[in-house]
C-alpha cells in the first residue's frame, strides 16, 4: 500500500497547517492558564504535558505508581505505533517554533546523520533510571517544560514590560490624537494577549537562556535538539522502530541527494534509506524528489532494519551513573535539614514524592494569581531547580484560590477543595520583634493583621506600653501569631510596609505535608 505521492499536491502544506494549528492551540491554552472569573479552570490548559509519554514515564517511575492524570499520553504512544514520530513533525509546538525560526537562524550543514544522534537515548535512559532512584531531572530536558517555563516566567512577563513601557510612554508624552490611536490598541491587547498584571519571576534569565539554547543549537544542525537531545523524541523513536507508516526511498534515481539534504531530522542516508526512528514525517522529501521516487506507506517494515546505534556498554554505564548519582543527594545538608524558607504550594506532596512528580513546567507559577509562586534556585538542590516555592515577600498565596492544584499536570500538587485548602498549612509565620514597628519603634501598625485572611485571624494583638524612639511612653498593639490558625499564605509578609525584609516571615515550619516539621505546642513536649 503506497500513497501520498502526487507531485502537484504539496504534502508539506498539510504538515505546516497542522503545526500552525497546534501551535495556535498551544498559545491559546497558555493564555488561558489564568484566573478567568471563577476558581474552576474551564480548559484543560495542561494537556500538552499530560500527553507527554516521557514525563508520564518519569513521574510514574519516580513515584512507583501509574499516574492516572497522565493517561492521555497512552493515546500518543498508541498512535506512534502506527504513525511513527509524527508528533515531532506535526504537533510538537517546540518543533513548530524551530521550523518557523529556521530561516532566521544562520545554520550549518543540513541532512547528514549526526554523530550525536544517539545522545538522546543515553539521556532518556539516564533520566528514567535516575528518576527511579530519586534524582528527578526530567524537567530540565523535556521540551515542553523548557518551552512553557521559558514563556511563563520570562518571555511573557517581558512582553508585558515592553507593552506597558511603550503605552505608558505614549500616554504620558504623546499628543491626544496619537493616544486616540494607541489607547484602543492597548485596551485590546490587554483583554486579548497581555497578562492581567505584571508578574515578576526569579530565574527569569536562566529560564530564557535554556529556551534560547534550543534555538541557538539550531546553528549547528537543523532540529539539533530534536535529533540529539529531546527525551520525548527519544521515547517516540524507540516506539517508532515498530511503527507501521514508513518512508521508502527510490532505488533507481538520479542520485541528486536532494532528499538527504532537505531532511530536517537527518533521517535519510546515502542509500536513501529513511530511518523510521529519526523521521518525523515532515514529507519534505516527497515534495522535493524530482523523480517522485519517495513514498510513505504501511507495511514497509521489510525496507530497512532501523538501528539505534546505541553502544551497549556505554548505555549500561549511563544506567549505572543514573543509579549511583542519587546516593550523593542524601549526602548533602539539606537531606538532614531542608531549607526553612522552602515553602511549597498548597497541596504539595511530601518533598521526595513532590520532586519526583514535579516536571518544572511552570504552569503553577503562570497561574498563581498572587505572583507568589517562584522557581526555586538551589534551595531544593540542583535537582530541585525550577520547582515552585512561595516567595512571600513578592507575592502571596490567595486564600480562596486553588488554581495551582488544578493546573498541575502530574499531581505533584494535589487538587484541593476549598475546604481542604483552608485546612492546609504550607508554613507558619514568625515575627521579628527587632524590626516590627510596634515592638521595635513603638509605632502603631496593623497591616499584617488587617490582611490576615483566616476568618478568625491568625494574627492577634496584645496591647502593650512601650517607649518609642523619643523615649515617650506609648500604647501600641503588638501582633503575635496563633499557630493553629496560620496557614502560611504569606500575605502578611507581602504587605508588611517595612522597606526591605519583612518583619513577619513565613517558614515551612508546621507545614501539613511534613509531620517532622510540626510546631511545638503548649500541650506537647518538644
Amino acid at each position: 500500500m503506497v500513497f501520498m505521492q502526487k507531485k502537484n499536491f504539496k504534502l508539506r502544506y498539510w504538515r505546516r497547517s497542522s503545526q500552525i494549528l497546534f501551535f495556535i492551540l498551544f498559545i491559546f491554552l497558555f493564555l488561558k492558564t489564568d484566573y478567568s472569573g471563577t476558581n474552576e479552570l474551564t480548559y484543560a490548559v495542561n494537556i500538552l504535558f499530560r500527553i507527554d509519554p516521557f514525563l508520564a514515564a518519569s513521574a510514574s517511575i519516580a513515584t512507583r505508581t501509574f499516574i492516572w492524570l497522565m493517561w492521555p499520553a497512552l493515546i500518543f504512544i498508541g498512535l506512534t505505533f502506527f504513525l511513527g514520530r509524527f508528533f515531532c513533525g506535526w504537533i510538537c509546538p517546540m518543533g513548530a517554533l524551530l521550523d518557523s525560526c529556521h530561516k532566521f537562524i544562520p545554520h550549518g550543514r543540513e541532512g547528514r546523520i549526526s554523530r550525536l544522534h544517539t545522545l538522546k537515548y543515553y539521556l532518556l535512559g539516564f533520566l528514567l533510571i535516575a528518576a527511579f532512584w530519586g534524582l528527578p531531572a526530567a524537567g530540565y530536558f523535556d521540551p515542553f517544560s523548557i518551552l512553557v517555563r521559558g514563556l511563563a516566567v520570562s518571555v511573557y512577563p517581558a512582553l508585558n514590560v515592553a507593552a506597558t513601557s511603550f503605552f505608558t510612554f505614549t500616554y504620558e508624552e504623546m499628543p491626544a490624537w496619537i493616544n486616540m490611536l494607541t489607547e484602543p490598541v492597548y485596551s485590546f491587547l490587554k483583554i486579548t494577549i497581555l497578562p492581567f498584571r505584571q508578574n515578576y519571576f526569579e530565574l527569569a534569565f536562566i529560564s530564557l537562556f535554556l529556551l534560547l539554547a534550543v534555538f541557538i543549537l539550531e546553528k549547528l544542525e537543523r532540529r539539533f535538539f530534536c535529533r540529539n537531545i529531546c527525551p520525548v523524541g527519544a521515547f517516540y523513536a524507540v516506539i517508532s522502530r515498530f511503527s507501521l507508516l514508513r518512508g521508502k526511498g527510490g532505488s533507481k534515481c538520479g542520485k541528486c541527494k536532494n532528499c538527504m539534504s532537505v531532511c530536517r531530522m537527518g533521517a535519510i542516508d546515502e542509500e536513501r534509506n529513511i530511518s523510521p526512528v529519526d523521521c518525523n514525517l515532515c514529507l519534505d522529501c516527497v515534495d522535493i524528489c524530482p523523480a517522485s521516487k519517495i513514498s510513505f506507506g504501511y507495511k514497509q517494515n521489510e525496507i530497512i532494519k532501523p538501528s539505534f546505534a546505541v553502544n551497549r556498554r556505554k548505555f549500561i554505564g549511563t544506567l549505572a551513573l543514573g543509579t549511583v548519582l542519587p546516593f550523593f543527594l542524601d549526602a548533602r545538608t539539606m537531606a538532614k535539614r531542608p531549607d526553612p524558607y522552602l515553602i511549597r504550594p498548597p497541596g504539595a506532596l511530601p518533598e521526595n514524592e513532590f520532586l519526583g512528580r514535579c516536571i518544572r513546567c511552570g504552569e503553577c507559577m503562570k497561574i498563581c494569581i498572587g505572583n507568589g509562586l517562584q522557581p526555586t534556585f538551589l534551595a531544593a538542590g540542583l535537582e530541585g531547580m525550577f520547582s515552585p516555592r512561595l516567595n512571600a515577600r513578592t507575592g502571596y498565596c490567595e486564600y480562596n484560590c486553588t488554581l495551582c492544584g488544578q493546573v498541575c499536570p502530574t499531581g505533584a500538587l494535589s487538587e484541593l477543595s476549598m475546604k481542604q485548602k483552608h485546612a492546609t498549612k504550607i508554613g507558619n509565620v514568625f515575627f521579628d520583634k527587632n524590626r516590627c514597628l510596634p515592638y521595635a519603634k513603638g509605632i502603631p501598625c496593623i497591616v499584617c493583621e488587617e490582611h490576615c485572611p483566616t476568618p478568625e485571624k491568625a494574627i492577634q494583638f496584645r496591647e502593650a506600653q512601650v517607649l518609642n524612639s523619643k523615649g515617650e511612653k506609648v500604647s501600641v498593639k503588638q501582633p503575635f501569631v496563633v499557630d493553629e490558625r496560620c496557614v502560611g499564605c504569606g500575605i502578611c509578609e507581602t504587605k508588611c510596609p517595612l522597606p526591605g525584609q519583612s518583619a513577619v516571615r513565613v517558614t515551612s515550619a508546621g507545614e501539613s505535608r511534613n509531620p517532622e516539621n510540626a510546631l511545638p505546642t503548649l500541650s506537647t513536649m518538644y
Binding site: 471563577t38 503605552f167 498584571r197 490567595e398 486564600y399 484560590c401 496593623i446 476568618p455 485571624k457
Partner: protein, 304 residues
Amino acid sequence: MHRRDFLKQVMLWSAGITTAIPSFQIVPELLALEKQPPLVTHAKGKDYYQLVARVLEPLGGISSFVKTGENVVIKPNMAWDRNPAQAANTHPLVVKALVELSLDAGAKKVMVFDRTCNEERRCYVNSGIQEVMATIKDNRLKFIHPDSRKFIPVDIKRGKAVKRLEIYKDALEADTYINVPVAKHHSLSRLTLGLKNSMGVLGGKRGQMHHDLGQKLADLATVVRPKLTVIDATRILLRNGPQGGDTDDVKIMDTVIASTDPVACDAYATTLFDLRPDEISSTVAAYELGLGEMDLERMQIIQA
C-alpha cells in the same frame, strides 16, 4: 467649628487681604459650616436597592448631585475577596442603585472601581459587584480595574501627617465623586467608614498610611472630596475586620446612611456600633481640619 475659630479665620483672612500676603488661606468650608447644620439621612428596609433612592430623597434626590453630562465616579469598597454575606465589601445592590440613579440623572459617564487588597479580579467577582454591573446594559457605565498609569502624585497642601500622595486621576477629575463605603470593624482605626474607603483611590505603598492613620485619612480627605457619601450599613462586620470571613461576626442592620458632609456621615454611622464619634481618630482629625461636623447634636438627622 467654634465661633472663636471662625472669627479668628475671618480676621486672618481680612488681614491677609489688606497686607496682600497670599499665605493666609481662608478655608471655604468653615464659612459654609457656620450657615447650617449638615443633613444626615438614614433609612431602614429590606429592599436595599430601593433604600438608596429613599435615603437620598431628603437630600434632594440624586439630581442635586449628578447633573446631565457630568462625569461621575462611584467608589464602593470591594477591596476583599469576600462574598456579600461576609460584609467586607459594599453591598452590590447599593452600588447598582447608585449607578442606575446616576445614569438616569443623565450622567455622561459613570465609573466604578476600587484598588483592591486581595487579587483584583477575585475581589470584583466575589464581592458580587461585577455580576450586578454586568446586568446594567449601558455603555456609559465603566466598571474597570484601575490603570496603574493614572495614579498621579498630588501635594497635600493642608496635610499635617502626609504631604504627598499618589491619587487616581479619574477620582480627582470627576464632576461628582460618590463615596460608597461599607461600615465595618477595623482593628487599628476601630471602624472603617467613608474616610477610610478613600484609600481605595491611592496608589503606591498604602501600608505606610497606617502610621498615624487617623490624621493621614483626614489629610487625604482634603483632596479627595466626595459630593455625596452613602454608607452601606445593610449588614455590618463587628469583629475580625476589615475582611471578616465568618458570618457570625456579621450583624444585619438593613440601614443606609447618606450625607454631603463626609465627617458627619461617618460620625453618625459610628453610633451603629455603639461607639462615639470622638473614638474614631479619623473623624476627629477631619473635624479639626474643618472638613465637616462630628457633633451629633449639631447635625440634622432625618430618618427617610
